[in-house]
């Protein structure tokens, strides 16, 4: 049996806007994925189609090899923490935990209450009375406690302060170490998740522009710094995904692997961090 979520040639249109354009991607088993994209890139649409919150116009979604669309068994392998809060407004936090256990038998009630305690989330409060940050915390706690085979977290740190964000990322790693399940972190805050994720899927304008390991992505990009003339000469015949100029100096971001030897004098080659690479890649597509 395949252990994965597979999207095959998925197309989703909203009127004249194509939110997902022939997307084919696989979230294989037991990894932490970063689904990265700018605002409006199609991240939420993609996750919503996986969980049948929206339906694709074309293509199909398979969970462990079986069609996911309106399939209870497939859908219950996935817990999605979305940006929208779908719990009843008047439901108390503790009741959200209890009811989720009814639907996800693997849900750990003790773990949920202990996390709520750690985050100082009052379990007697109603969902509607929670702040944006605490609403995110509630949804994250439920997602992490669900023990679903696939946990999809859409913008999980929305409204969280630095301490809570740090706590959350540590919990994700702890949970992954304990369960070895598949976690998809969808976010536009790349710098924060760069140390957490193993594989990266970058979506831009409804298309997947990169799908591979983080290490592979980082190995594919580098920067070259030097005088504008030298940099321009070096860049000829190479794929330049972006550049920055200051005075007579220029820094170009190159897509490809740097040569091991023969770097011209006056040029400095260096690696690029994930966020910088993401910015240059998505900008290059827009330009």
């Amino acid at each position: 049996m395949k252990v994965s979520i597979e999207l095959k040639n998925v197309v989703k249109r909203f009127g004249k806007v194509t939110a997902l354009d022939n997307v084919t991607v696989t979230f294989g088993g037991n990894k932490i994925y970063g689904l990265l994209g700018r605002n409006g890139a199609g991240k939420t649409t993609l996750l919503s189609i996986i969980t049948s919150r929206l339906f694709a116009d074309e293509g199909e979604v398979l969970v462990d090899g079986e069609p996911a669309r309106e399939n209870d068994r497939a859908m219950r392998k996935i817990y999605m923490m979305g940006e929208a809060t779908l719990y009843p407004e008047n439901m108390r936090v503790g009741d959200v935990f209890r009811w989720t256990r009814e639907f996800y038998p693997e849900f750990s009630l003790d773990y949920a209450f202990s996390l709520a305690d750690s985050f100082k989330l009052d379990c007697r409060k109603k969902v509607k009375s929670l702040s944006t940050g605490y609403t995110s915390i509630l949804k994250n706690i439920v997602a992490l406690s669900s023990n679903a085979e696939y946990t999809l977290l859409d913008e999980p740190v929305l409204g969280l302060d630095a301490n809570h964000r740090d706590m959350f990322y540590r919990l994700v790693i702890e949970k992954y170490a304990e369960r070895q399940n598949t976690i998809v972190l969808s976010t536009h805050l790349i710098e924060e998740v760069s140390e957490v994720i193993e594989d990266v899927v970058i979506i831009d304008g409804g298309k997947i522009i990169f799908d591979g390991s983080r290490a592979d992505l980082l190995a594919h990009g580098y920067s070259v710094l030097g005088s504008t003339e030298l940099v321009n000469r070096y860049a000829e015949g190479r794929t330049v995904i972006g550049s920055e100029s200051l005075g007579g100096m220029k820094k170009a971001y190159i897509w490809g692997k740097p040569e091991q030897d023969g770097v011209p004098d006056g040029l400095e080659l260096s690696s690029v961090d994930l966020q910088r690479l993401f910015i240059q890649l998505t900008n290059a597509r827009q330009n």
Binding site: S52, R53, N71, K77, G82, A84, M91, E102, F103, Y104
Partner: protein, 250 residues
């Protein structure tokens, strides 16, 4: 199928509302009974208690889509299971309310025997002459009353659910158009047409209702019960068409 938690969630969701409704009904009945006992000139009549129940279940059904739908989708339940859960919920709630209504009527009839000015009767007794009904006070009569209210409750609940689902799927201009045009047609258009056709519309509805209620034939309440069940099934089918591609709206 993952129906059990869905039905459990739905029943728990409205448990308090149903209990509160019956507490109010019983409190009102006790209040009026006390008045008829205390004052010689006072009379109180609770004829057709099911009508209040029908209003209640209709309103409850009108509010029973959006919030449960969002909660159940959040918890990985398919739309098909959500609708099946709603059907089972409707059957359970209709059955419970029908039995409770009958019990209230029976207890009320004890009150009637104490004070002749305190009258409690079921809708069935009000609508149909005795020739259509089993012998009063016997088990078949009680079962008939329960089955009669059950069928009506089911149809009304299915209608409420269908209407709320229809509104959920409509965009705002459609909602406005329907909200204005339907009442206009019912309260202005139909009377106008009735006037222009010398009571043709009234005659038509009179004939249809006689046919549905079975008062001019030999079937009596069985006719309306069958009609209610067919309507329930049709409305469930239409609800499926509406829910099967319903998106999650914010």
């Amino acid at each position: 199928m993952y129906l059990k938690p869905v039905v459990k969630y739905r029943l728990c969701d409205y448990k308090r509302a149903i209990i509160t409704f019956y507490i109010i009904i019983i409190a009102i009945m006790i209040g009026f009974f006390s008045i008829t006992i205390s004052y010689d000139t006072a009379t109180a009549s609770f004829a057709g208690i099911e009508m209040i129940g029908m209003n209640f279940i209709f309103i409850v059904s009108l509010t029973s889509f959006k919030e449960p739908f969002r909660m159940l989708i959040q918890n990985g339940i398919s739309r098909k299971t959500i609708l099946l859960g709603q059907i089972i919920w409707t059957i359970c709630v209709s059955a419970i309310m029908s039995v409770v209504d009958k019990v209230i009527c029976l207890v009320g009839s004890i009150g009637s025997s104490i004070s002749g000015r305190f009258i409690v009767g079921s809708l069935l007794d009000q609508v149909y002459p005795s020739k259509f009904l089993p012998e009063p006070g016997r088990i078949p009569a009680h079962l008939m009353a329960i089955a009669f209210s059950f069928c009506l409750y089911t149809a009304v609940a299915a209608l409420g659910y269908f209407i709320t689902l229809l509104y959920y799927r409509m965009n705002t201009p459609m909602k406005v158009a329907v909200s204005i045009s339907v009442p206009c047609f019912l309260f202005i258009g139909l009377p106008l047409i009735d006037n222009m056709t010398n009571g043709g519309v009234s005659y038509f509805f009179d004939r249809v209702s006689q046919l549905i209620f079975g008062v001019d034939g030999s079937n009596g309440p069985l006719s309306v019960m069958a009609f209610a069940l067919v309507c329930s099934a049709l409305l469930c089918g239409l609800s499926w068409l509406l829910i099967k591609k319903a998106p999650v709206k914010n």
